[in-house]
Amino acid sequence: MRFIKLLWKRFTLLCILALTALPLMIIGWSGRKTIYSEYVLDPLRQPGLTLVFEGLHDGVYPWQGLLKPKSDAAEDAGEETTDAADTSAVGDTAVAGSTAGAGSTAVAGSTAGAGSTAAAEETIVYTEAEDSEVEEMKELPENAIAGSVDAIPEGVCNPVMQAADYDVVNIGFLSPDDTEYNTDTEGIFAKNGIYYKLGLVDATYFSDALFIGDSRTVGLCEYGSLKGNAAFLAKESVNVYNVLDQELRYTDHDGETWDAYVEEILSENKYGKVYVALGVNELGIGTTYMYYEKYREIISMIREYQPDALIYIQGIMHVSYDKSSTDSCRNNTVIVQRNMAISTLANGRDIFYIDMNPYVCDEDGDLYEDMSGDGIHLKASAYEYWDRFLMENAIVTGE
């Protein structure tokens, strides 16, 4: 006892540090197979107590381990893993269910609705329909073109811009090259042979548009020319995994701002177009397939709330050479693979893939250094290229 007293008196700071570390260590180590089973612990480099902090950050609190009997907790952990593995199946059913009708209504809706004023007609190129499809053509909206259900014709979506591979990629963020993405034959993501081509519009086109995204979209709102015209729902650091769980900053068509959840905004307003740009903050999280699945869920959700809107999937903007040639996660190899994956979600009818990269990248697919201060974002002075791209790559479905 006297020894402890002496120790406390002489090394108070060290004692408090040790005394506070002890329970953290116990909680960390005892929970490493239960509540913290999702986290990787490298005992050589970090102590068990770091698990407690990782948990705190993700909303997993130490008492959750105490409240649940050990076996339950273990089961839960097991279930979570299975759940994660099954997400694709669950996601697919949900999408199919909601789309059986939605797909057709979307086409009908877009024909009757939109009626946007644009100078696009001249630039839209029509292809001649096959004889066998003449009957069907009668039902088609005026600006639509007919094609095969196997492939989207050229000019309907942008091709995914390729980029040089500098061999720095951490393959943990990629999915195997032969991964199949959208293979739907029905539902909102399926192609049905009716397509619209991208063309030129003016700024008024965006008066019923909503842009959802991360800090790049925040930049577009703050430094692009569409503020006060389009609406924006964006926040720094959001990614496909957390964008629905937090309030983002909403800037309405008049430039008024407040914080709101994505679902809230989508359910309370009606938009003619919804633009989505997500994909930078998750470059270091999960694989391409996981990203694709989440993206798909988000698009399904948007479609559910906005059955008549055109949805634009904006390909992830590339990063600069400096970043792409040195950073194992933020590089164009990962970005291109992820763009390839999300581009398959486009159906060319009411979901489109657009890729701004040719406007801001060199022939190697690297973002021009002089357009970016940090290699990842456009500089304020370069947002005009994004604006221009959007105006030159829009769909007009009505007359």
């Binding site: 090394f11 903050n281 996660c329």
Partner: protein, 453 residues
């Protein structure tokens, strides 16, 4: 790399090292410190540890020849050995800096310029007879390689850190104070400097030509504070570890932003580098004893070398050139005025130092021009400036800026240090420690914490 603010250091290397260090009998502790330091260095710089070891041994051998007993002139000064040592150390420094600068590819070995400056000062002190007792081999190798200083300094002196008198007994008080300074420094680095660095990143993101003038000034101040919290925090951690091992506290920062004039600022900012240049360049050149013209020339040489030491891109030369002009201006033109009205000296610091840090921060001259055009918007307008940018950043960063500004005054820091043995202060410090650990854990598992897009 093994940094003081990494989990590997905090929870693996340092506790294990400390335990071994104190379980070892006192006379063998230097051996433990030497091997510990080599492990520490090799974890960060791999094979470069061989170069450190070779240079250390070479300097010890040459130093033994340079050393002379100054009692009664028993042994003449060994000039050749001294020149050989200086050529070796300075030559290695110049060679690596030049190669890196020219090719842009060769990376300087970790902490290279810090330990070579120590080696040069060691040889010079031996040659001048300031080291009066023949250095022992373990003392020497530990002095050059000791892990608290090997990567980023400070450039401690042989005599001031406790080798001369071998008065390195560890006391409970010193150990506790060392731990206190270590945690305090950790807090400055992790909770203030690191988050403040995002402000600069935000400004780079927008592009210098498009920031509003208030944001340009906020950026300059934010960068100045971040640099200070980062380097001061590191220096406190380093000094704290040193104290925990039985060495003297090394003063590297002495409230520089409270200085009265630019010259005074650089006696207080990175003081071990400033005093190195003073003792081994400025004074040997004649200092201020050979007339005004020679003083100015000597100052020019010192500042040219200071600029080159920091880097060879043109902005460093402009940075050091501007400081040289400011110091000459203060010394020869407004000296009397500053003595009469110290506030003028303070204003010099508060106005000019942030501006010089902007030069320091921006290597590209075109970018630098853009930034200054936004600081002083009389020469043209920015491109696509959003006037709301200042308020947006201020809403996020005001608490960090405020705390950092308070720590710039000597009063707050002294109050904390004075009460460092009181329980409430210790409890607050423990809280700071765990918040730091939280931030480190989160940033390790989420590389985007500091750069969320």
């Amino acid at each position: 790399m093994i940094l003081f603010n990494s989990l590997t250091f905090l929870f693996r290397f340092f506790p294990v090292f400390l335990a071994i260090y104190y379980l070892t009998p006192a006379r063998f502790r230097e051996v433990v410190l030497f091997f510990g330091s080599i492990v520490f260095y090799a974890m960060g710089a791999g094979s470069m540890a061989i170069m450190l070891t070779v240079l250390t041994v070479a300097n010890y051998v040459l130093g033994q020849m340079v050393f002379y007993e100054d009692k009664g002139g028993l042994k003449p000064k060994n000039k050749q050995s001294f020149i050989a040592a200086i050529v070796l150390d300075a030559g290695a420094l110049v060679l690596f800096k030049a190669l890196s600068g020219i090719t842009g590819r060769i990376v300087l070995p970790l902490g290279f310029s810090f330990y070579l400056f120590k080696m040069i000062s060691y040889q010079a002190d031996l040659f001048r007879g300031e080291i009066t007792r023949r250095p022992e081999i373990m003392d020497t190798v530990v002095y050059f390689t000791m892990f608290p200083q090997v990567t980023q300094g400070p450039i401690s002196r042989w005599n001031s850190i406790g080798f001369e008198k071998r008065d390195r007994t560890v006391t409970v008080k010193a150990f506790n104070d060392g731990l206190f300074f270590f945690v305090l420094g950790l807090g400055m680095k992790v909770l203030l400097a690191d988050p403040l660095s995002i402000l600069w990143n935000e400004i780079e993101k927008i592009g210098f030509e498009s920031i509003s003038t208030p944001l340009a000034w906020m950026g300059a101040i934010g960068y100045s504070l971040r640099l200070y919290m980062d380097f001061w925090g590191y220096s406190l951690m380093s000094a704290g570890i040193g104290m925990m091992l039985g060495y003297h506290f090394v003063v590297n920062f002495l409230h520089p932003y409270w200085a009265c004039g630019i010259g005074d600022f650089y006696r207080r900012w990175h003081a071990t580098l400033g005093s190195w240049f003073r003792d081994y360049v400025y004074i040997p050149l004649g200092g201020n004893r050979k007339g005004n013209l020679r003083t100015i020339l000597n100052l020019a040489i010192v500042w040219l070398l200071t600029g080159l030491w920091h880097g060879i891109t043109p902005n460093y030369l402009i940075w050091s050139g501007v400081l040289f002009v400011l110091i000459v201006w203060e010394k020869f033109v407004v000296d009397g005025l500053i003595s009469a009205f110290p506030i003028i000296g303070h204003l010099h610091v508060w106005l000019f130092i942030p501006l010089t840090w902007v030069i320091f921060a921006i290597p590209d001259l075109q970018d630098l021009r853009s930034y200054f055009m936004r600081l002083f918007p009389f020469f043209g307008n920015g491109i696509n400036v959003n006037s709301g940018d200042f308020m947006k950043q201020l809403t996020t960063y005001w608490p960090l800026l405020l705390i950092s500004l308070l720590l710039c005054t000597p009063h707050w820091y002294r109050a904390i240090v004075k009460n460092r043995r009181r329980l409430p202060v210790l409890l607050a410090l423990v809280l700071v420690f765990w918040i730091c650990v939280y931030r480190i854990v989160i940033s390790a598992s989420n590389p985007f914490m500091y750069f969320s897009f």
